[in-house]
Amino acid sequence: MTLLKTPPALARLTGGRRELVDRLFAVQSLVALLVVFIVAILASPTRDGEILFLTAGNLGNIVRAVSEIGIIAVGMTFVVLLGGIDLSVGAILGLSAVGTATLMVDSGYGIAPTVPAVLAIGAVIGALQGYATARLGIQSFIVTLAGLQVARGLARIWSGGLGIPIAYGDGPLQAPPAFEILNGSINGVVPVPAVLFLAVGVAAIVVLRTTAFARHVYAIGGNEKAARLSGVPVTRVKVAVFAVCGLLAAVAGVIHAGQLNQGSPNDGAGYELDAIAAVVIGGTSLSGGSGSMGGTLAGALMLGVLNNILALNNIDANVQLLIKGLVIVAAAGLQRLRRGVA
């Protein structure tokens, strides 16, 4: 619970009774997650008396399915807290997936050189974008929109436009079997990508709650001029944040390649919007300076549960679109309730 408490308490007011209301609402993304979870249990189809939604396999699948979006959303949270936005993450995922497959299979490098190299590519693209926003002062929306196109173009050129399959083995044009672990699960229940997602998430929560870097991020997002006058190294922090976001998108790309046994240049299209949705549902303000990482994790999981229960009930794909749209607005509205009291 405490994980979800917004550090620079979003709520405008404190004191007395108010404090209690606040504390309740501070975990409101968790509340939204819980509501959706309970609704999902009630709405779940059963088969032979078993609630399908609650089967271990299904819960594992939910977390696995949101793991990539979730990891991206963690990076996105930093960017949004800073007052920016990053539209390039989906394309960086695609580029990284291609990079993983190409380097590991076509070029025959092992895991050790490949993964760090791919992550470095993601971080460098992110850092360049950060530099363009911070120093040239171009709005991050437009920088990363361009970054999206460039990363997507690079991915297509690098791969020749086609997905590069990853086969495992020791021979040439085969990837080290160890890499297949991304496809596996621990004890056959908890998928590895889910574990990675939760690990990244918890690490991010710790970073955001305990480091000076996080304070700087909040300060810049809240009032950049004030941050600069307070001696915050604004450019450096911005570059670092976008680099982290790019890096995490690359992590998601590596996982993506591992999960799908392929690096495809068109993958990850539209992931940026899902990630941003998770961040906003989690209570982080797009105008920067306030929000929490725990909220983002809850937001991502909520989207995962929602997708899953709609699919389990075989809701028509188009109706799913409608329902998802409305639930997102409702979740964001819940968010608002809290601030509305101020």
Partner: protein
């Protein structure tokens, strides 16, 4: 076609027989493509006619990961048979195998998956279709030769590459036919239009436009019409969907000179499902290649009716 043998786990485990209820999961790569929407419609319509069949469709919206999750969700629901039209081969292979190994018969439509962990494959042959189109150009459309503009599908997609290759094979017989330009129209009508706008500027003397699908051919037609070239240039497409917005109608109404059917395989898939589930047949064809059909002004109306177009 080869047939399923004794150690096929799907055939072994599948409970089958008439007078039972069957849940069939249909995993579609992308509902936003008309061809795939028609495939869904074909499957659902055909299944309605079979007592005991219930079909649920999941749309992966062109996302490999989403399609994997869709199949996983089907498995959670314990479907009795899986029909899948994969977004891409390799990424779906593992989960299809998982389904197959769990004893669920799998019918793969349109695009293959790797390996042999599926019950049956039904699909068209894009190279053959492209070749048929090319031969049509060589012998009927442009027997005296001429310049051809190609509007290709989404760069990097297999059908685009195969339809391009087949076409080149087909026109080889007539060396007077020359492809003067090729640009991607991403399968989209509006992109076909804007690409043709530019290409017709550069090649106003083109004799025909070969588009990799019908919507792009229609877009090219509109561009030519705006440039006053629609009477001079011939247009052909591919897919021939039996729906009002499809290529057959366009041929019937005289906008396209011809189109070439790329069957969805939806009905065939349900037929096969019926054999497996209701007839308990252990002997279904491992691979079915759907033929193509040339649609021109002469046969458009008949074919439309025959294919059940509404």
């Amino acid at each position: 076609a080869c047939s399923v043998e004794k150690d096929d786990p799907a055939a072994a485990n599948a409970a089958c027989g008439p007078d039972r209820q069957y849940l069939i999961g249909m995993s579609q790569a992308n509902n936003a493509e008309p061809y795939r929407q028609v495939m869904n419609n074909d499957v659902t319509t055909a299944a309605e006619a079979v007592k005991g069949f219930e079909v649920v469709v999941a749309d992966a919206a062109q996302d490999n990961s989403k399609q994997v999750a869709d199949v996983e969700n089907f498995l959670t629901q314990k479907i009795n048979l899986l029909i899948i039209s994969p977004n891409e081969a390799k990424p779906l292979t593992a989960v299809v195998k998982k389904a197959y190994d769990a004893g669920i018969p799998v019918i793969v439509l349109d695009r293959k998956v790797e390996g042999d962990a599926y019950t049956a494959f039904i699909g068209g042959d894009n190279v053959a279709i492209g070749k048929a189109a090319g031969e049509f150009y060589a012998t009927r459309l442009l027997p005296d030769g001429g310049k051809v503009i190609e509007i290709a599908g989404l760069p990097g997609s297999t059908p685009a590459a195969e339809r391009a290759q087949g076409f080149r094979d087909g026109i080889a017989a007539n060396p007077k036919i020359q492809i003067v330009a090729s640009q991607p129209g991403d399968w989209l009508r509006e992109k076909g239009q804007s690409v043709a706008d530019a290409l017709l500027k550069a090649h106003p003397d083109a004799a025909a436009i070969y588009a990799h699908n019908d919507p792009m051919a229609e877009g090219a037609y509109l561009a030519a019409k705006a440039a006053g070239l629609d009477k001079k240039i011939k247009f052909t497409g591919i897919d021939a969907l039996p729906v009002p917005s499809g290529g057959i109608k366009a041929v019937e109404e005289g906008r396209l000179a011809a189109t070439f059917q790329y069957a969805t395989g939806g009905r065939e898939a349900v037929d096969l499902a019926k054999k497996i589930l209701i007839d308990c047949s252990k002997d279904v064809p491992r691979s079915t290649t759907l033929g193509t059909q040339q649609i021109t002004a002469e046969n458009a109306k008949d074919v439309y009716a025959k294919l059940g177009g509404s």
